[in-house]
């Protein structure tokens, strides 16, 4: 009989009404934060309203957003994936290794295809590993994904002998530097992936099952939801998306740095998902919320950087955002 904290329920009359539009801080807090950030930057940050700023931010937000999409699906099952940063490093390290290999040099086209696909298979394998640990061996998700969090980056560094690998390969770099209609390619890619993920979550059997598992695992199991395969698939999708993001980072830099690629990305992605409205106990998968969350995280980073605040302080700011989002979430739950 846990008589839980005050249950102030959500009758329709509680949120303040602005005209006919109901504003509810808990629901629309993300949008509000976005508006505040934009206004603040427009007023304070030098050169904020330049196209260049937009490009920089789009190209950087893309990786956070792509990883956050996958993270949102894992969180929807009631899990968490700490290994995304390491998987980024791994996939990012593999791609140049492949097109720089003797095979890749001799058959550039085949090499390029392999450089795009094999890292994703490697990432998928990482996801499979995580998923099996979590759903078949019943390891706590935090612990299960901690294994690759630690060892994945290590493997990437061994593969590259711990060196920075630079290259020049225009076709591959398109992933990070290409433009369509004047906007960065990875921005479009993010949009496309988000649309697919949204459809997947909202319209397919898999999506419904994902939310059912996060909502009540035992009930889902007894209703014939294949809990294990669906959970594993969620981790695989998350890892593959992390792999995509890892390759984008490498393409942007025309260099792979296994030590830094995707470093602390798990924090950004979890923060983005939570700010976007994902519930840590599972059962919700707001894909576009995660995109919004990623934009907010990116803007906060940019704001602090552009105004000369130190990195360490930026980290604290990020932590504060997570705390605030989780706090709002607790309030929303009631």
């Amino acid at each position: 009989m846990t008589q839980e904290s005050p249950v102030l329920e959500n009758s329709g009359s509680s949120p303040a009404k602005l005209g006919s539009f109901k504003f509810d801080l808990r629901k629309h807090g993300g949008l509000l934060a976005l508006v505040i950030l934009l206004v603040f930057n427009a007023l304070v940050t030098p050169n904020f309203l330049q196209p260049q700023t937009l490009f920089v931010n789009i190209s950087q937000v893309a990786t956070i957003a792509i990883v956050a999409i996958g993270m949102t699906m894992v969180i929807a099952t009631g899990g968490i994936d700490l290994s995304v940063g390491a998987v980024m490093a791994l996939a990012g390290a593999l791609a140049p290794l492949i097109f720089l290999s003797p095979f890749g040099v001799e058959y550039p086209i085949l090499g390029l295809i392999a450089a795009f696909t094999l890292p994703l298979f490697a990432a998928a394998f990482c996801g499979l590993f995580n998923g099996v640990l979590v759903s078949v061996l019943n390891v706590q998700p935090i612990i299960a994904t901690l294994i690759l969090f630690i060892s994945g980056r290590g493997i990437a560094q061994v593969l590259t002998n711990g060196n920075l690998q630079t290259f020049s390969n225009d076709a591959f770099s398109y992933l990070g530097t290409g433009k369509i209609l004047g906007l960065p390619f990875q921005g479009w890619l993010t949009l496309l992936l988000a649309l697919i993920a949204f459809w997947f979550v909202r319209r397919t059997l898999f999506g419904r099952y994902l939310l059912a598992i996060g909502g009540n695992k035992r009930a889902a199991l007894l209703s014939g939801v294949p809990v294990r395969p669906v959970t594993i698939l969620a981790y695989v999708i998350c890892s593959v998306l992390a792999g995509v993001a890892g390759m984008i980072v490498v393409a942007i830099n025309s260099a792979s740095d296994a030590a830094r690629n995707g470093n602390l990305m798990e924090l950004d992605a979890i923060a983005a998902a939570v700010v976007g409205g994902a519930l840590l106990q599972g059962g919700k998968a707001p894909i576009f919320g995660a995109i919004l969350g990623a934009i907010i995280i990116q803007l906060v980073k940019y704001t602090l950087l552009a105004n000369g605040v130190e990195d360490e302080v930026a980290l604290i700011a990020k932590a504060a955002i997570i705390v605030l989002a989780v706090w709002l979430q607790q309030a929303r739950k009631e």
């Binding site: 009989m1 904290s5 249950v7 059997l205 419904r208 909502g215 007894l222 014939g224 294949p226």
Partner: protein, 511 residues
């Protein structure tokens, strides 16, 4: 006359604009056992939650113990002297029985540490009043729903409250446990404690209540001295129907039981699992309802879990539709044509944040998809049909299921399984928490379903439902199936005797 203990006046409450209570009233005297009845969705639980501070009222006043009472959370209500057992139990299954009982007022040792020894012995004492002898250090979740319900009641009673509110406390108890509960209620009454008692079992009210308040559609329709009214009058008032119509209809609606028994559908031979099922044998034919009878912990639910592939067999074999059958998991069981309506609505049934629509189609979903994509038009159509056929009270089919009243949630879960049209449907407490009117409807739906040539296994802690509903009853004891009774010819007394008889024999053999 002394002041009433609790007076709630002109209570209004709306959820997102939909009225749940309109000017509802309730008055409870000191030392009185007061019944509260009404159809599913009438607003009983909402009224209780308003009194105890779970919800805030939109209008109206509540007075408790001589003062105005506006509790802002249940804890406040509890310290003011109202102990509540909510309809959806709020226990922590992973915590021990003791922790669940003493939670919030743990006995302390010097230095503020919790004194577990005292806590355990206190808990044992509280439970012994209910005839329960549990290992109080084991997690509560390991015990059956009925035991959990008793633990919740025991906790509330142990709080030394002035008013104990029980929202459908007997929904998963059998007759014997109900009798124990009534003993406790009478004891409470003697010590001057008032009890508010919500139930769909009208007979119970006549046994323990002094007065009864009837609600319909969010309003209080009447309040009677129990001695001056009868069952038919109450039902008529609850449903808003003519008393003569009610009298002419029977009290259960499983129909005559002239089942045309068809071919054998399922045969289980001495099956056992690691989950307290030792050796269970039963045969189900097409066109019949087979009841499982037995006491708490006799293995009825465990038998269902074994048939449905949740627990793996450690012995014995099954034949289903003429073929050997050993499902690895519910997915395979469902595909082969089985369905299981589970006992515990909250823990094993509903996905609370999902809509009525999504909950209802969850088991059917694979057949509603084309190329992985859900056919939403068909989905809506099916759901709307079931909502109409079962009279599910919901604002619309996209409303989250947690917002439905308990009985209406139960109907959605029943629909989840009827929609899959299984050959064999296992129903574990199918009418738990549904009102008298809806119960008749559900029972006749089950009978209709069986008449179409399907089979049903019925588990019910209500002996009346078993005796009148089942064509045969398999009696279980300590995980063994020990005897079989056949209708017509079963009476409640015969069933009780069969259960008790074997009980003595088995425990005698063990001694």
């Amino acid at each position: 006359m002394a002041l009433p203990l609790l007076t709630a006046k002109s209570i209004d409450k709306a959820f997102s604009g939909v009225a749940a209570l309109t000017s509802a009233e309730l008055q409870i005297e000191g030392g009185e056992v007061h019944g509260l009845i009404g159809q599913n969705g009438a607003g009983k639980s909402t009224l209780i939650k308003i009194i105890t501070g779970v919800y805030r009222r939109d209008a109206g006043t509540v007075e408790f113990d001589g003062g105005e009472a506006s509790f802002i959370n249940p804890r406040e209500a509890q310290s003011a002297g109202i102990a509540t057992i909510y309809q959806e139990l709020n226990l922590v299954p992973l915590r021990s029985v003791t922790e669940n009982i003493v939670m919030g007022n743990e006995p302390r040792k010097w230095g503020g540490l919790i004194d577990w020894k005292t806590a355990n012995s206190q808990t044992k004492k509280v439970l012994s009043d209910f005839g329960l002898d549990l290992d109080v250090e084991r997690p509560l979740g390991e015990y059956s729903t009925a035991i959990q319900q008793l633990v919740a009641i025991a906790r509330a009673v142990s709080l030394n409250a002035k008013l104990v509110i029980m929202d459908e406390p007997t929904s998963s108890l059998d007759d014997k446990e109900v009798a124990v509960l009534f003993g406790v209620i009478r004891q409470l009454k003697q010590t001057g404690v008032s009890v508010l008692y919500v139930s769909h079992f009208l007979d119970e009210l006549f046994e323990v209540c002094d007065r009864v308040t009837v609600m319909r559609d969010g309003q209080t329709i009447g309040c009677h001295q129990i001695a001056e009214t009868d069952k038919f009058e109450l039902i008529a008032e609850m449903l808003g129907r003519n008393i003569e119509d009610i009298k002419s209809a029977g009290m259960t609606d499983f129909g005559g039981g002239e089942a045309k028994r068809g071919e054998v559908l399922l045969q289980a031979d001495n099956i056992g699992t690691d989950n307290r099922l030792r050796a269970f044998s039963a045969t189900v034919h097409r066109g019949e309802i087979v009841g499982l009878g037995g006491l708490l912990g006799s293995g009825r639910t465990e038998a269902a879990l074994a048939l449905f592939g949740v627990d793996q067999l450690t012995q014995g074999r099954m034949v289903f539709k003429g073929e050997g059958f050993e499902p690895d998991d519910p997915v395979t069981a469902i595909r082969s044509g089985l369905g299981l309506l589970s006992e515990d609505r909250k823990a094993e049934g509903i996905i609370p944040d999902m809509s009525v629509r999504e909950n209802l189609t969850l088991a059917l979903l694979p057949r509603l998809t084309r190329a992985g994509q859900i056919q939403r038009g068909r989905e809506r159509e099916i759901v709307e049909n079931f909502v109409k056929a079962l009279g599910i009270k919901t604002a619309d089919i996209d409303q989250p299921i947690r917002e439905l009243s308990g009985g209406n949630q139960q109907k959605v879960l029943l629909a989840r399984w009827l929609a899959t049209e299984p050959d064999l449907l296992i129903l574990d407490e199918p009418t738990r928490g549904v009102d008298v009117g809806a119960k008749l409807e559900i029972q006749s739906i089950i009978r209709e379903y069986v008449d179409r040539g399907c089979g049903v296994i019925l588990i019910s802690s209500e002996f009346e439902e078993l005796v009148e509903g089942a064509d045969r009853i398999v009696v279980l004891q300590d995980g063994y199936s020990v005897s079989e009774l056949e209708n017509p010819g079963i009476s409640e007394d015969i069933l009780i005797a069969a259960i008790a008889h074997h009980h003595d024999e088995v425990s005698g053999a063990n001694a």
